[in-house]
Symmetry: C2
DNA sequence: CTTTTTATATACCGAACGGTATATTAATCT
DNA sequence: AGATTAATATACCGTTCGGTATATAAAAAG
């Protein structure tokens, strides 16, 4: 691993463990066995490092989501597929996933929030699109596409959050496809099924 | 308003806007028109100020939740009531509500997270209890009480989060009872109703 | 009317913050 | 081989951080 990638990995681990604001540049380079000018050489600033990290990891997930929404015929199928993709993204790097969520919930004026927001807006709008295309078929939707989109993303996330609270270190194996299906079912059909 | 309460209010506003870590003690006392020793006189430390703030505001909400869960006969009724209570808590002080959520999603090693966690654990366990009592009646539950509890809290929160994203400053009036009922219905019966 | 307690301010502490000017080494190009 | 560029380090910048030693004003208690 080259030093650029090493710095990103170390930064991710520290941002996840202690939070973006609470981590010093000094701390990052020390963990990597390097010095500050090297970090500034590659990323220009602390926020530049975070932005590069987000861009590198988030874009693939986002394009998968957009493909799934674009190709989806039935809303059920699309939601199952979105559940799978999101879960895979979580499994790929739990620390990164949880870091992103932490950034999303940080204060509006925080530059870390501003760095992560565009990605979530894009994700959200993709999911809205999926419900929008179904609006004609579901008579009762009545403009609730946005509520459904955020509700769906929230449900998926809540489940992953629970998983992670129970087992942050991935010790009990990956999440099965049936489990995701069960969560998506819960969203679509409620708790009385 | 005495200076103690004034400091808590100023701290809340700043923590909400900029995040706990990003706010300096100096900044808080300047907004309050006071000086640092006064803050340390009342709260001992920056984290002590946050803890006092959380204790003061969270405890009432928590006791309302516990009452509702204890008194609830039917799970539907209990969930509607919990929806109302949570929504009222949100309306009471949106800034504080969003601050709490931000703290909940901050890193595990962060002392602000450790300060807020116990309250959420208590909240979560109360809701688990509500589902647990219904476990006999709903044949399909099969140990999914925890998933339902976190899913329910997540659904409520997602809705309030959407509200707040749309209208952070409460300009379009309070959330009606029918709206909350609609969200709780979505959780219980899914999206095809 | 003292004495004590409560509440506030001035002025400071060492440490850590993000960031940089400058030098040096290692690799690449001509 | 010589020139250039890429990658790294040493040593430093001013600022802000959370926190405190000490003094003082105001209020309460005796």
């Amino acid at each position: 691993m080259n030093n650029r990638a090493l710095l990103m990995e170390c930064a991710k681990e520290l941002f996840y463990a202690k939070g973006y604001d609470a981590v010093g540049v000094q701390e990052i380079v020390e963990r990597a066995g390097l010095t500050k000018p090297t970090l500034y050489y590659y990323f220009g600033s602390k926020i530049g490092l975070l932005k590069t990290l987000l861009e590198t990891r988030f874009e693939r997930y986002l394009s998968q989501v957009e493909t799934a929404v674009g190709a989806g015929s039935d809303i059920r199928e699309t939601l199952y597929r979105l559940g799978e993709i999101s879960c895979a993204f979580y499994e790929e790097d739990r620390q990164f996933y949880m870091l992103m969520m932490a950034l999303l919930y940080s204060a509006r004026k925080n530059e870390a929030y501003q760095a992560v927001r565009p990605y979530f807006v894009e994700l959200y709008e993709s999911v809205v699109q999926a419900f929008e295309r179904e609006a004609g078929k579901l008579g009762n939707m009545r403009g609730r596409q946005r509520q459904f989109a955020i509700g769906f993303l929230g449900t998926i996330h809540q489940y992953l959050f629970l998983q992670w609270e129970t087992d942050p270190e991935e010790s009990s194996g990956k999440i099965g496809g049936e489990q995701i299906a069960s969560v998506v079912d819960q969203f679509m059909y409620g708790i009385f099924t």
